[in-house]
Symmetry: C2
Subunit: 221 residues, 2 copies
């Protein structure tokens, strides 16, 4: 019989996450945990972000997927260090998985590690991976009501990247209402409205990422 | 200390689900469990489906959401019996929640109950609610690679409704590749390509639903 002690497990996860965070900090690495629904465009945003960022900032990637290594293959094509985690059915990454994946990255050479979580707007929000910040992605195709319906991840996020903005002319997405709802949930959120396809908003988002690696998170002031 | 016995819980869920199914069948009601990512368009599909179906088939709806009753309010506007379940943070519906919600529906007057699960492509697939069939929705905005990356729900589904087909001209979604991948996962899947916005494909989907209520699932042959 499999016995899970829910509170113990979450505590063990928090302990491991804290160790991961200290380990990142020992190397002056800032770590971000990207969370969204399936198909919100995490990997495409990552590809474009890495393309714009990698000459300024040394970035590594941890790719979380339930199955397949398709995303890691896409990222590896950009000549960036990338490690794939396959959760084999589990609906979120946890700190232990990230602890193992970190060992495979050349942390001493990196400024920033981007962790792409499993596509799921609910469960990943509850598991600290040792990141400095959670970043939530929301595709405009999902509808502007999602922050109120799935508040957990938006409450815990430092920034929200609204993706696929090139589709706005074809949708009934109310951008103002969505931003207002996000700021009601969490009034110091950074909000970036982006299209990886057209490039709009990407420079603003990438500059913000670069600024994190030059600030106190990275031990630099 | 909270102790969860994982296997026992899943067994208890299966037992309750079996009771729910028998209860639906006692009233000749066919029940379907709609599963998708957040924002794939479950509620919009439901609205258009009910509009086309409700004069032919007596339909009731169980709305699952983590928080808010927005979806139930939308459905109630169509003058269809609807019950809202708020999971208060839980990432899926379970059979016990549905057992309680069923009591609030006039089952003796219904042919079909549509259960809209929480927006999550992973966890809901593991929980039998007492439905006759699971129906997976996939929005074309999510990308054609989702069946391979999230196979669980597609393996267990009887039908897949591809939604938001009106966006296809603006996306790189490969419909043929997606259908091929779906049929590789599960070769007797029904696949419907729909746009609730333009109405395309809706008649085919609605006719299939109507046919279920005239077949052996409803105790009619």
């Amino acid at each position: 019989m499999k016995v899970i002690l829910a509170r113990d497990l979450l505590q063990a996860n928090s302990d491991q996450a804290q160790q991961n965070r200290l380990f990142f900090e020992r190397f002056g690495v800032v770590s971000l945990n990207l969370i969204s629904s399936p198909g919100a465009g995490k990997t495409t945003l990552l590809e474009k972000t890495l393309f714009l960022l990698k000459d300024k900032v040394a970035v590594g990637v941890i790719e979380g997927d339930i199955f397949t290594d398709r995303d890691a293959v896409r990222i590896a094509g950009l000549d960036v260090p990338v490690v794939q985690i396959n959760t084999q059915g589990t609906c979120h990454l946890d700190a232990r998985m990230v602890a193992r994946a970190m060992q495979e990255l050349p942390l001493a050479e990196l400024d920033l590690v981007l962790i792409e979580n499993v596509g799921n707007l609910v469960c990943p929000a509850a598991f600290d991976l040792g990141e400095h910040y959670k970043i939530a992605l929301l595709s405009v195709a999902e509808g502007s009501d999602k922050p109120a319906k799935y508040p957990g991840v938006f409450q815990r996020a430092r920034a929200v990247v609204i993706t696929k903005a090139d589709l706005l002319p074809h949708l009934d997405f109310d951008l103002d209402a969505c931003e207002e709802e996000l700021l009601e949930i969490h009034d110091s959120l950074e909000i970036f409205v982006t299209s990886a396809k057209s490039g709009s908003g990407m420079r603003h988002w990438v500059n913000w990422l670069a600024s994190l690696t030059k600030g106190p998170l990275a031990g630099r002031v």
